[in-house]
Amino acid sequence: MRITELFDNGEFVVTAEVGPPKGICVDHVVEEAKSYLSGITAVNVTDNQSSVMRMGSLPACIALKNAGLTPILQLTCRDRNRIALQSELLGAAMLGIDNILCLTGDHTKMGDHPGAKPVFDLDSVSLLHTVKQLESGVDLAGNPLVGEAPKFAKGAVVSPCSDSIDAQLAKMERKVMAGCDYFQTQAVFEPEKFIKFMEAAKQFGKPVQLGVIIPKSVGMCKFMNNNVAGVHVPDDMLEELRADKEKTKAGITGVEIAARIIKECKPYCQGVHIMALGWESKVPALLEKAGI
């Protein structure tokens, strides 16, 4: 099932994400997803997230699919050229994966193989364009595909709390022009910025899912503030996390904060995308508290 069908029906689409293991046993990931994420619409499977080498996104997607979940294949342009990416997309379609998220990808220098060659033959925009081309029955070089053409729900990301909103909107527009069907956002901790962004992004007429991270600790938030592009956890939230250490450690404060952000932003977006970062077990409580 393509998640675009749900957006088209006006449904509020909830997704989360999991990372494949650095190894060949995927049971733990599947079990966690089954226990905590089976109630939601779909689950992103990351593609060597943060440039750290792991099992591929596609095989992990299949493991989730076999367990009854709907996976979203994340595809980055860091490790594969246009031939490998198209080939992967055809394979995904053959295996019944029809939801994808197209990303440029972090630089190889950010990860655990910093000496690796960064490919970036395509980028998020040209990858979306490539997918659209495949859907029309020809490859990027214009050669016809044999038989039925693939069809995907094509997603991309946008960073609504970035310091250069105008540049982000310009990039978002290029993604829409290239064929993007829906957007997931970078984690939002400043609802007022998100709402302002959505007022400008409305013009594109594409569904946008609010990105949510459950804040685990003051240290984690400070790390994000210093290192993660487009993420800023405001001081009052840091105070809230600092106030009751036990409550924060138990995840109660984080869930409260995240639920509040979702409630505040919900009228302005078409779904929510939860990046639990190991706290998958808190997702059901979060959704309940947020009234979804």
Binding site: R82, T104, D106, H107, K109, M110, P118, F120, D121, L122, D123, S124, V125, S126, H129, L140, V157, V158, S159, S162, D163, S164, D166, A167, Q168, A170, K171, E173, R174, M177, A178, Q186, N227, V228, A229, G230
Partner: protein, 206 residues
């Protein structure tokens, strides 16, 4: 060595707005420059009465030298809406960073050749890709200014305007966006999806 080839006249005409000041750089000894073609094109433009002035020089990649050469011609430059530069990619970038609020157009594509690269000062870098993007990026090379060499806009990795790979490096696309904003050319961001062509060898690309 490197080779500069003039872009198709029609392409250049579509980029020219109003009056033009042309800068022709014969470059260093290491450059093969399409002299006759460029001169013919500039004569064509001049015959139409849209050229405010032309200088033919060399080593415009040297910022001090460029400044000296342009000094006496600033009235003509002010009078022009478009500055058309025939040089390698380094030359165009040097001009566009000097004439920051002018619409600077690259007239040539630059191809690499093996061998001695000459004495080009590396304040700006040209990847010699053979499909010069400077006309889509406000005269800032996205291949060398962006650590991922992205050609369709910025990634999500810049923090406080700095690159995710090197916090001392400005995000190239942030610079490109600001420059386009300054010269009133944000419309170029609506251009078709760009794809690199790595097969710029003569026989493959034609």
């Amino acid at each position: 060595m490197l080779i500069t080839e003039m872009k198709v006249g029609e392409t250049l005409r579509s980029l020219i707005q109003g009056k033009v000041f042309t800068i022709i750089c014969h470059g260093c000894r290491e450059v093969r420059f399409p002299e006759q073609e460029v001169n013919a094109f500039v004569r064509e433009l001049a015959a139409e009465g849209i050229v405010t002035g032309t200088i033919t020089t060399d080593y415009i990649c040297n910022p001090d030298f460029l400044q000296m050469r342009l000094k006496g011609r600033m009235a003509e430059i002010e009078d022009a809406d478009t500055i058309l530069v025939f040089s390698c990619g380094v030359g165009v970038q040097t001009v566009s960073s000097y004439l920051e609020d002018k619409r600077v157009i690259a007239g040539c594509d630059t191809y690499a050749l093996p061998g001695y690269q000459g004495v080009t000062p590396l304040e700006h870098d040209c990847d010699q890709c053979g499909q010069c993007y400077l006309n889509l990026t406000g005269g800032i090379c996205p291949l060398t200014a962006c650590s991922k060499s992205l050609i369709n806009g910025q990634c999500g990795g810049a923090k406080n305007g700095k690159c995710e790979v090197d916090s001392n490096m400005d995000c190239g696309w942030e610079r490109i966006y600001r420059r386009l904003e300054k010269i009133g050319r944000l419309d170029v961001l609506k251009c078709p999806v760009q794809l690199r062509n790595y097969a710029t060898d003569d026989e493959v690309s034609r």
